[in-house]
């Protein structure tokens, strides 16, 4: 559909929230917690904070949570019964306050989970999620969305995108049918189009590198010392992958409780030294430089090659969360500046 533009008064936001809530949908929104700002299920508008650049964790958990129960099982003597995932119990969710970068991450993640075979748990969750984006008025030194094809007011991935205007009111762009359905819940709050321009109310994020060039260089410099040099201070934790909106690597495990249990899917990370280790003890990626190369290569070369999507949307979460300040933007600039081969 073509994007429809409306004005939502600052004072109407809370009432709009109440209408959505009253429709029975689960609303997840950024909440200021003891140490972080993260998406949490909320009941009231005043629980939501707007004081964040991006949340610590990405919005991916709504469809790809850190622990997903794939099915439950019961083991009796020689019999096994499996209770499959009840897809129809997946609730309708509204993700409120998603940043444009986070919303842009939905499409690569979806590309992974629908490649050849559909992961119905993921796709159904995504289908039942409406993303209400809020474009960025602030950015920090870790932001680089504009370098990977996004921008602080990009609509891709959002169903509705709200942009705060200088008046304090919001420009509401209805992008998809799902967004339209939200408007239908409370049409009275969507008023006529404001004349104010959207762009001048957005954060300024300078372009740092050309992401198409990254792919070219990553391929050309696959065998090179640059990975060793960049990965030196990396300590092989999984923080970057776990906060990343597009990282989808996972592990499948069984957990028992007596005779019953469940098969679960857990987040995993290519940075862990045990990630690729064979039972024989052979480890194809035994040193950190190889794992770091895999991370960058996967996002900028493998994903575009195989599923036609880039695995980095420039939110900078990994750089902010990294315990050893592996600033990904800096490294990407470094890669882009390598001589053409």
């Amino acid at each position: 559909m073509t994007i429809e533009k409306y004005l939502v008064k600052s004072a109407s936001l809370s009432a709009l929230f109440d209408k959505i809530k009253a429709s029975g949908k689960v609303v997840q929104a950024p909440v200021k917690k003891a140490h972080t700002v993260d998406f949490m299920p909320v009941n009231a508008f005043n629980e939501i904070t707007d004081d964040y650049i991006v949340t610590t964790q990405s919005a991916k958990s709504v469809a790809f949570p850190r622990v997903e129960k794939l099915f439950k099982y019961t083991k009796a003597k020689k019999e096994v019964t499996i209770a499959d995932y009840a897809i129809n119990t997946i609730p309708e969710v509204v993700m409120w306050g998603v940043r444009p970068c986070d919303a842009a991450g939905v499409s690569p993640l979806n590309a992974i989970f629908t490649w050849d075979v559909d992961d119905v748990i993921f796709t159904t969750k995504l289908k039942r999620t409406t993303f209400i984006g809020f474009s960025c008025q602030k950015s920090d030194a870790c932001c680089f969305c504009t370098s990977v094809g996004g921008n602080p007011g990009a609509t891709a991935g959002s169903d509705i995108l709200m942009t705060k205007l200088s008046s304090g009111n919001y420009l509401a762009e209805i992008i998809t049918e799902k967004g339209k359905a939200i408007q239908v819940l409370a049409p009275e709050f969507f008023e006529e189009t404001p004349s104010e321009e959207k762009e001048k109310n957005l954060a300024q994020v300078p372009i740092q590198f050309n992401y198409l060039e990254i792919k070219e260089k990553v391929d050309a410099y696959f065998e090179s010392d640059i990975w060793k040099a960049q990965a030196q201070r990396c300590i092989s934790c999984g923080t970057c992958a776990f906060v990343c909106p597009t990282c989808a690597c996972f592990d499948i495990q069984d957990e028992n409780h007596g005779k019953v249990g469940q098969r679960i899917r857990n987040w995993d990370s290519c940075c862990f030294s045990q990630f690729t280790i064979h039972t024989s003890g052979h480890n194809p990626r035994e040193s950190q430089d190889r794992r770091w190369r895999q991370r960058i290569n996967h996002k900028f070369s493998i994903m575009p090659d195989r599923i036609n999507a880039y695995g980095c949307i420039g939110c900078g979460r990994c750089s902010r969360a990294c315990p050893v300040d592996m600033n990904i933007m800096e490294h990407l600039i470094g890669i882009s500046q390598l001589a053409k081969k």
């Binding site: 990965a231 857990n266 315990p323």
Partner: protein, 266 residues
């Protein structure tokens, strides 16, 4: 800083070491590790209050060992970690140079680990007032309040293992959490999995933690998990008189005294 840089350059120039592990300027005022292998690298070295990472964590990494013999910039927490690592036979005096940094930011040179140990006698591990306050606050909660508190805090954990990766004492090639025959700690970052992981981590650091808070600083979720190991440290001191790392005393939980005191065994 001038004297540290000078010394680092001397060591590199004489090929006494091949790499200097120190801090450089990071993103937005943060600091981060640098592995200086020449004068240009040394020139980037800094030292300030933002230098919270415990650099000793790199001493046991095989990727870093390949760079050659290191000199390490060592503020007090790094010195303590070095002594602890040495007492666990993970590092050798002859295989590194330690460029100590006094609390005033001055270079302190050490020829031996024993010299570091004796230097540390004047700088006993201590918690500051704020930390004491938090510890007391948690300790003074009722049992169920405390349980709820930790379940809430540890519930944040998504098991990225940054705490483990940042801890100089967590050098095991295969962590107990990765043992799966049988599956010892649940892999999932659910309540039980998180509780067992953090309880195990704290116990494995009992008597070994040097109170550097690297684990807490590394945690992307800000979980105060360092207070678990702080408690271990306080108990080790109060019950067994262990006051900081020591080259000779042996590891708290692999030694014993026949007259160790307790009041709960019938």
């Amino acid at each position: 800083m001038v004297d540290i840089k000078k010394k680092a350059n001397e060591l590199l120039a004489a090929n006494a070491v091949q790499v200097v592990i120190g801090f450089e300027e990071g993103t937005s005022g943060k600091s981060r590790a640098i592995f200086a292998q020449d004068a240009a690298g040394v020139d980037k070295l800094i030292f300030n209050s933002q230098c919270v990472l415990n650099l000793a964590v790199y001493l046991t990494k095989h990727e870093i060992k390949k760079l050659g013999k290191p000199a390490i910039i060592a503020p007090l927490p790094v010195m303590r970690a070095i002594i602890q690592l040495a007492s666990e036979f993970q590092i050798k005096e002859s295989e590194m140079a330690v460029l100590g940094v006094s609390p005033e930011g001055k270079l302190v040179e050490f020829q031996t680990f024993a010299a570091i140990e004796s230097y540390l006698k004047d700088f006993k591990i201590a918690m500051d007032e704020k930390e004491k306050e938090i510890l007391a606050k948690i300790s003074n909660m009722s049992l169920s309040e405390r349980f709820d508190f930790w379940m809430q805090e540890l519930g944040e954990c998504f098991k990225c293992y940054a705490c483990r990766a940042a801890c100089p004492m967590c050098y095991c090639h295969k962590c107990a959490v990765e043992q799966n025959k049988p599956q010892w700690i649940p892999v999932a970052a659910n309540n039980l999995g998180n509780l067992e992981w953090h309880a195990m981590r704290a116990m494995h650091l009992a008597g070994r933690c040097v109170n550097c808070d690297a684990c807490h600083n590394a945690c992307p979720k800000g979980i105060p998990l360092n207070f678990l190991t702080k408690l271990m440290m306080v108990d080790a001191k109060e019950i067994f008189g262990q006051d900081g790392p020591s080259l000779k005393d042996g590891h708290l939980l692999s030694t014993f005294k026949p007259n160790d005191k307790e009041n709960f065994i019938r």
